[in-house]
């Protein structure tokens, strides 16, 4: 049975007089992978940040399944907010406190091992490669056992191997009872990972649906064609 975790209704965000998000509606279901695609400046990040409570909407409603949604949502934003002088382990400890959680060193080391980061446990965060930093950012989104996580362009600016590792990570998370909402410019990646896709352009939703349904509906061969057709 499909269960809605988050419902967005008529959401509007204006910067000065420009509507960067213009009356959008969609839902995020339990245990689904939802890909958000659209050109630069389409309103993807602003939408994600409003759902996360980082930005305030100018109009519209966001409904959550929980009284304290921030306790049960994980977020990886575009910037990497680590403390550069601190080790990976201590960064994790610090971020756990932001969610009111405490972990022993062994628990955190186990967690890092699961995500193939055991070789950098004691390295300073600023010494990690781009792929390792993104992986660590994703580890931080799930350490408090959230119901849903938001990943804003998790594979941007990564080499193919690192991209592949992040994709595998997202697939694993989706199999662990976590809803994953991610934005990306990589259509192949979105097609492979997503159960449903939200296509945004100029602040409005052009369409929502499973990759298969959307390809059939618009009579196109792949998501890239669909993207070019609708944006």
């Amino acid at each position: 049975m499909v269960k809605t975790l988050i419902k967005v209704e008529s959401l509007v965000k204006k910067y000065n007089d420009r509507r960067v998000v213009n009356e959008i509606d969609f839902e995020i279901y339990k245990q689904e992978v939802l890909g958000i695609i659209g050109p630069n400046g389409a309103g993807k990040t602003t939408t994600i940040e409003m759902i996360l409570g980082v930005r305030l909407p100018d109009a519209g409603e966001i409904y959550y399944w929980d009284d304290k949604p921030k306790d049960n949502i994980g977020a990886q934003l575009q910037s990497v907010p680590f403390f550069p002088n601190m080790s990976v382990l201590n960064n994790l400890k610090l971020f756990a406190t932001f969610y009111g959680k405490k972990f022993t060193n062994n628990e955190l080391i186990d967690l890092l091992e699961k995500f193939k980061l055991s070789n950098v446990i004691y390295s300073k965060a600023d010494r990690l490669s781009g792929g390792q930093q993104k992986k660590l950012a994703i580890v931080m989104t799930i350490m408090h056992n959230p119901k849903v996580i938001f990943l804003d362009e998790p594979t941007a600016a990564l080499d193919p191997r690192a991209r592949q590792e992040i994709r595998e990570l997202i697939s694993d998370l989706a199999n662990k009872n976590i809803s994953v909402v991610f934005s990306s410019h990589d259509m192949e990646e979105v097609a492979k990972l997503s159960d449903r896709i939200v296509l945004i352009n100029n602040g409005t939703i052009k369409d929502i649906g499973s990759p298969k349904d959307l390809l059939e509906k618009y009579d196109v061969c792949n998501l890239e064609e669909l993207y070019l057709k609708l944006t």
């Binding site: 409570g53 201590n90 406190t97």
Partner: protein
């Protein structure tokens, strides 16, 4: 919160520039000039000056850079997506800086006693700690202001130097201003550092009646600067420093109408 405070303390101790400006430079000036000049009255003046510039550099310069870097790295943005309030995070930073200042002052007082035989009564040490706490909050607020109006390290540095250099040179941290032109002394009196140095002087010289006016003015500066810093605080590098008031007014709106359960 303890983990957050401990993190900031460790970060401060690992930051080479911070250690140089808040520990090595003030301590070097105190010991070096104290031995070179040799007079007891000047050693007392140096004690006040060393404590004052350590707090100024630590709370103002270091915090200015740290706040700007954290904002640009998206720390505050991410915090808004967590249940941890930004105000708690900011207070933890100020608290860690206060612990740092107080620890340094203990080291300086011990050295002052061992090297130059300067003694300060227990009551005066307690009062000194209170002044250091107020001053740390005051200059941390200035650090926030410098970061709020800057977009990068260069701008923080320019603003911090523009404010701190006149404060140091027009104060009596390291020399007497008795023979300086009136306008220079007037400029000094418009800045909080002057009253910070005056209040430490009063304690070091055990002149308690001279303590209260500067400390009241320093508290007034602290309240005003903290208020201004919180109104202009930018959690996102794309925000304008003047958008703070609008955000504060709209927070209630979010709580009342946007978060509904399904």
């Amino acid at each position: 919160m303890i983990i957050v405070i401990r993190t900031f303390l460790l970060e401060a101790l690992k930051d080479v520039m911070n250690v140089f400006y808040t520990i090595i430079l003030p301590l070097g000036l105190f010991i070096g000039l104290g031995i070179y000049m040799g007079t007891a009255s000047y050693q007392q003046q140096l004690l006040s000056g060393s404590l004052a510039i350590s707090v100024l550099f630590g709370a103002f310069f270091s915090m200015g850079f740290v706040i700007m870097q954290q904002r640009n790295r998206g720390v505050y943005k991410l915090l808004k997506a967590t249940p941890f309030p930004i105000i708690k995070y900011v207070l933890s930073m100020a608290f860690a800086r206060t612990i740092f200042s107080l620890s340094f002052s203990i080291v300086v007082l011990i050295i002052a006693n061992l090297l130059f035989n300067i003694t300060i009564s227990i009551i005066n040490i307690v009062l000194l700690f209170l002044i250091l706490i107020v001053a740390t909050l005051c200059f941390t607020g200035l650090g926030f202001l410098a970061a709020n109006f800057s977009r990068n390290e260069v701008q923080v540095s320019i603003i911090a130097n523009l404010i701190s250099m006149p404060m140091i040179f027009t104060s009596e941290a390291f020399y007497s201003m008795d023979k300086s032109p009136t306008w220079i002394r007037t400029v000094g009196k418009l800045l909080p550092f002057h009253y910070f140095v005056q209040s430490i002087h009063a304690l070091v010289h055990n002149d308690l009646p001279a303590l209260w006016v500067p400390i009241i003015i320093l508290i007034a500066f602290t309240i005003s600067i903290t208020l201004l810093a919180s109104l202009t605080f930018r959690w996102d590098s794309n925000m304008s420093p003047l958008s703070g008031i609008k955000v504060l007014n709209r927070k209630q709106f979010l709580k009342s109408s946007k978060r509904k359960n399904i």
